[in-house]
Structures are given as structure tokens and as C-alpha cells.
Amino acid sequence: MSRSVLLRGGRVIDPSQSFDQIADVLIIGEKIEAMGARVGNDAAGRDGLETIDCSGTVVSPGFVDVHCHLREPGREEVETIASGARAAAAGGFTAVCAMPNTDPVTDNQAAVGFISRQASRADAARVYPIGAISLGQRGEALAEFGEMVAAGAVAVSDDGKPVVSAHLMRTALEYARTFGIPVADHCEEPTLAHGGAMNEGIVSARLGLKGIPSEAEEIMAIRDILLARRTGGHVHLCHMSTRGSVELIRWGKDRHINVTAEVCPHHISLTEDAVEGYDTNAKMNPPLRTADDVAALQEAVRDGTIDLIATDHAPHHYDEKEREFANAPNGIIGLETALAVNITWLVAPGIIDLPVLIERMSCAPARVFKLPGGTLRRGADADVTVFDPSASWVVEPARFKTKGRNTPYAGKTLQGRATCTIVGGRVIHRSDA
């Protein structure tokens, strides 16, 4: 007799089936068995049925994060695959993709296999490895995409660094076509961005910090879009942060170029003003931009120019952030705040509704990276997130599952919280919101 779980009486939203109504979801074993208003009554009395009351909450396909940094191997004191996978589960993510800028770099099949093995031991959210584009992320020679894909890699990226050589980016896009994987690029023109610590503008001028102009991102974004047009390869643009980038992506999509793009929760919620007082938890790359950029990104999430939301979860040790702004590392944690930030800044103000949010956090990431999940169809893996979209809570980093504490949302009251996360039919996270 396989284990079964009944998610009863929630608002079930599955954009992959255009489904949005009060219903029950029945999971048998590792798969979705049924979804509908009468499923609960029919299943009642089943042996070993675990019923979870979902009234007042939303039941959705599990969230998928295509961009996070889990720091293992190399910086296990900052995060491990296990702690990252638990943080993901607590944030409502059933699957995450781990970027390859580890130490050593995840640029070969053995390294990719190591991440998959650590992930299965973690017994939390699924972790899919992303392999490096270039050996050692040095931007010189291509890594072995084929062997990495065979070992479980779902994409390639040199994230953390841009692919500086246009030639290498071109060949990566061409070569990746054989394996049907996206090439995810961190768009940053290095000579323009060199030494920059925040967005270039009035705040950087006042604070005396070297700025990173929007063009550093946009120049690489359009280069990648043009190379995708040339090669027919799939380019995925990571963490877009400017209005100009949105316009360039729109230009590419209008011409049916194979480009997809992501935005991070911090770039649709915060502006460069957060750097005021030299708060190193507001330091990330790309940097927080202006209110005008935030508005453009929010609109792009709404209209689909930006396909999906990804966290760029980047834990750092406390000591590393506790220093002079220019010398502090880039990045913030995001797995446990993403849902709430997105609800607080996108859903609550009415920019998008919950079905669109779920599309951008679950269906689209699964589709773009060709991952299982992102649907509650009968027979699909039972990766399900239950969340309370109205629960308000105060961000207390010390209570997080991630080892990182570096978040600009500390102390803020946010709205929306995952109450139950199910991976392959197993409940891996429960909370009472």
C-alpha cells in the first residue's frame, strides 16, 4: 500500500492547466493522483491517508528556483547543499538549481555527480546541478557539456562572472544545442563594471562609491540576444536589473529569438536607496537600481517579457559582510524570503495575481530549464507547495534554515508564507505560517 496524502479544501491554482478553484489534491506514492472538488470525499477512508487541511491557503505546483548558490563544495561553513535544500523547502521551493561557482568549480562530470549525490542525501528540496560554461569559469575553453548533462546537469553557466569572450559565448550557445540545455549568462561588461560597488547614479555620487552603469548589463544582454539569433541557441539571461534590459529582451522576443530571462525578488522590490548608510546587505551584483527600473521589471514580470523569478540566493559569512562597503562581497540570501517579497511587492499592490505569480515561480522555471515539476497534472511528480498568501510575518534571519543571515529584509514585515512543501509525495516542510 503506497503512502497517500490528501491536500483538502485549498484554493488550488495550477496555471499549467489553467485551473483555479477550491479543490482537493490527492497524492499517491510519489505522483499526483487526482485533483478536483470531489476528490477528498472519494478518497476518504483510504488506508494510511494523511489529510492536510488546506482551507484558507493556496495549493500550487512546487516552486522552482533556477538560480541559487549553495556553496558546496568549498565553502561549507557558509552553506551546504543540505542546508540550502532545507532553506529551499522552508521557502516553498521543491526544486532548485545550484550554480557552479563552487570551489573547485563544477566544471566536469565528477563534480556534477557529487552535487547530485549530496542532494539526494539531503532529503529536502530537489537540487539540480548547473555545470560551468568554461573550464574553471576562466572564460577560455568550453567545459564538457555532454558529460555534465549525462551526470545530471540541467544547464550551463559561468554565473558570478560574465562570459567575456563573445566567441566563447557563441560556441557555447551552438554546442549546447546538441544537449538541449540553456546557456545562462551573467550579463556584465567587465571594463564598465570594474571596481563598481553599486548602481551608478546620484546615490553613488553622494556616497562616493564607484558606480556600475546600467549599460554594463545591457551591452552584454544585447550581445547575448544577438548571438542567440545567430546560433539558434537558447540563451537565458540571469538576474536582469534595468529598464533597458527589459526593452532589449522584448526586442528579442518580438523577433522570436530564443531568449529567456529571470529577475530576482530584490530587483522588483528595492532600489539603490537601500545602500544609504553603506548597508552591505544591500550590496549585490547586479546592484539595486532605481525606482524606474523596479517599475519596468515589475511590468515585465506581469507581461511575461521576464519569464521567471529566481532568487540568486547567495549566502555569505557574517564576517565577510561586516566590513567596508566596497570590500564586502556581493549577494544576499533569498530562498526563504522570495515568496513573501513577491507577494508583498507584486501581488498585494495588484501588479500580478496569484496565478501569474505561480506561473513565474513554478511553471515557467520548470519549462524554461526543462525540469520535471511545474504542474499538478495526474501522473506528474508530486512536488507541491501550499502557502498562505495573507500570512504576515517579521523577517528574523536567525530563524532561517540557510546558514546565511545576509538579507536586507531583516526586521521587515512581509506577507505570504509557505505552510507545507511536498517533494515526490513526501512532506519535507510544515509550518503553521
Partner: protein, 321 residues
């Protein structure tokens, strides 16, 4: 309610015009102390001050040290070389260790913008910013204001143009905030590649050509041109900089009136300023240095909790020794 500066002096941007005026007014009685045979008053007797210099400095460090000693404070100088800083100790650990020795004030010079603020947020001692990266150098700004006020009798309405590498200049930022808050008009002039992109939003008039700036200004504050700006590709050469932006006697003579010349030092003679200008009759460059000590005495005094109205009395008490 008596006006005060709060715990720290981190920049001129956060100060009000009244607070800046308070410092300048408080500096007045302190000027005279440095003119005495025995240049010392007991105002800060028993106070311990650490001068924490992570960047090389001659003028500012010595000026602070004189200001401290003339107020009878006990001072310790810590430089980045030959201290635990060179062994990789973090800024916050250095500061906490110093504070554990029960000090009262820290004067900090550091290469990173925001370093003074970082320290001030983490220790209880008063923190004085002696220059943080390309952010602010408030005591330099104050001594520039005092020198200008000495000459023009008021700052209200005077036209001051800052000439040179505004992008990388903490002196420029402190001048812009200090001068605008005191009612002066501020111009900036330099190669566009050395002006912040957002300069227009800082309440200043931008001059592309130095001839126009000279035509407009009552005073020029001429910034030092760092050699690194050429290697980093901001401008082609010192020679061309001198030709296009250098302040020469010839250029000044074309102006209809006398123009006061300031420079925060150290000067590159023949680059941003010609020697006959630096040493000319309208140069107040050495007055700036003299005023620097008085302004720093005023800041130390006010931050230590000294009542502005007692500054005169403090001076008298010293005079009776």
C-alpha cells in the same frame, strides 16, 4: 535647546547650516591659541584620542595631532603599516580593541567610502572622519569654509568653483554640501570624465571650460590631479590637463576681478595649478592649513560635549596659565 553635533562628525551632508555655522564660530576663538607662545589650553585634559590612519597623510594627520595636543588631549597615532592592520586585522576588530582600552575619540582616515560611518555605528567613542575613500573629508570642507568666510566676511551668495577631479574627490563632496548649506553658489569644472554622471542633481553649476568658471567665480578651489587617473584612462595626460584645465596667471588675469585661490594640497605645481598662482597674492593655501588646526580644535571640543558659549572661556582659562 542647545545646538550640538551629535556623537560623530562623518560628513557635511548630514549637518544643517546652523551646525556648520556653530563649528565655524567655535573655531574663531581657537585660532588665537595657535598664535601664543605657549600653544595649549586644558580643555580636553584627560581625554584620549586615537588617530587611526589607514592611508598616508601628512597634513591632515599632523593638523589633527596639533589640534588635539593644543587642547591637552592624550593622543596615540596608529598607522596601517607597522600595526596589526598590516597583519590582516579587520577594521571592526581594530576599533573594538582600541575601545577596550577606554578611549574617548577616534579620528579615522580610510581608503574605503563609508569606513568612518561603519566605525561610528559600532563603537561608542566619538568618531571624526578625516577622509573616507571618495566620500567626504568634512574637516577639510570646514577649513575651506572658514578660509572663505575670513576673506569674504560671509559665505552667503559667494561663488565658489571647484576645479578638477570631482568624481574621485572627498574634498569636493564636503565642499559642495558645506557651501550650499551656507548659502554659497557652487560651480564645478573639470573634464566630464572626472565629474560624476549625476553631478547635475547635486545643486551645482557645471562649467565645461575653465575660462567660463574663472569668469563666473569669486574663488576657485583647485583639486589635486592624481597620477592614477591617466593610467586608468580617465584623461590622456598631465600635459593636456594643464593646458585645458590648469590654473595659470594668464588665465586669471583675463578675469575682471581678483579671484581667491584655494587648494587642499598636496599640490602638483605645473599640473592643476601653476606656481605663480599658488604663491601669488590671492592664494590663501597656507591660510587654509592654519585654519585647519582651529577648525579641528572646534570639532574636537564640540564633540567632547563642550558648550559653544564656553569656547571663549576655555580659551581664557588657558590664557591664565
Amino acid at each position: 535647546m542647545t545646538l550640538s553635533l551629535g556623537k560623530d562628525l562623518l560628513g557635511l551632508e548630514p549637518l544643517s547650516g546652523d551646525q556648520i555655522k556653530l563649528i565655524l564660530d567655535t573655531a574663531e576663538p581657537f585660532k588665537e591659541i595657535s598664535e601664543r607662545v605657549i600653544k595649549k589650553v586644558p580643555t580636553l585634559r584627560g581625554a584620549t584620542i586615537v588617530n587611526l590612519f589607514f592611508e598616508a597623510s601628512t597634513r591632515t594627520r599632523i593638523s589633527f595631532e596639533f589640534a588635539e595636543k593644543r587642547l591637552s588631549a592624550d593622543t596615540v597615532n596608529v598607522a596601517s603599516t607597522g600595526s596589526s592592520v598590516s597583519k590582516g586585522e579587520t577594521l571592526v576588530d581594530t576599533a573594538r580593541n582600541l575601545e577596550a582600552m577606554r578611549i574617548d575619540m577616534v579620528v579615522i582616515r580610510h581608503g574605503a567610502s563609508g569606513a568612518a560611518r561603519f566605525l561610528a555605528d559600532r563603537i561608542e567613542s566619538n568618531v571624526i572622519n578625516a577622509g573616507d575613500g571618495t566620500h567626504e573629508h568634512p574637516t577639510q570642507g570646514l577649513l575651506d569654509l572658514l578660509t572663505l568666510r575670513d576673506h569674504f566676511k560671509t559665505l552667503e551668495g559667494i561663488k565658489v568653483c571647484i576645479v578638477g577631479d570631482v568624481l574621485h574627490s572627498r574634498v569636493a563632496r564636503s565642499n559642495i554640501w558645506g557651501l550650499t548649506k551656507m548659502g554659497a553658489q557652487v560651480g564645478v569644472c573639470g573634464p566630464r570624465s572626472l565629474l560624476p554622471n549625476a553631478i547635475d542633481e547635486m545643486g551645482v553649476t557645471v562649467f565645461s571650460r575653465v575660462e567660463e568658471a574663472i569668469e563666473w567665480a569669486d574663488a576657485l578651489n583647485i583639486l589635486r590631479l592624481q597620477l592614477e587617473r591617466m593610467t586608468a584612462g580617465y584623461i590622456p595626460s598631465q600635459r593636456e590637463y594643464n593646458r585645458v584645465f590648469g590654473i595659470s596667471r594668464e588665465r586669471l588675469d583675463r578675469a575682471k576681478r581678483d579671484i581667491l585661490i584655494l587648494h587642499p594640497g598636496p599640490m602638483n605645481r605645473g599640473v592643476e595649478i601653476d606656481s605663480d598662482v599658488a604663491d601669488g597674492p590671492f592664494s590663501v593655501i597656507l591660510d587654509q592649513v592654519t585654519n585647519g588646526v582651529a577648525v579641528r580644535m572646534a570639532v574636537l571640543y564640540l564633540l567632547s560635549g563642550g558648550k559653544p558659549e564656553l569656547a571663549e572661556a576655555a580659551k581664557k582659562a588657558g590664557g591664565e596659565r
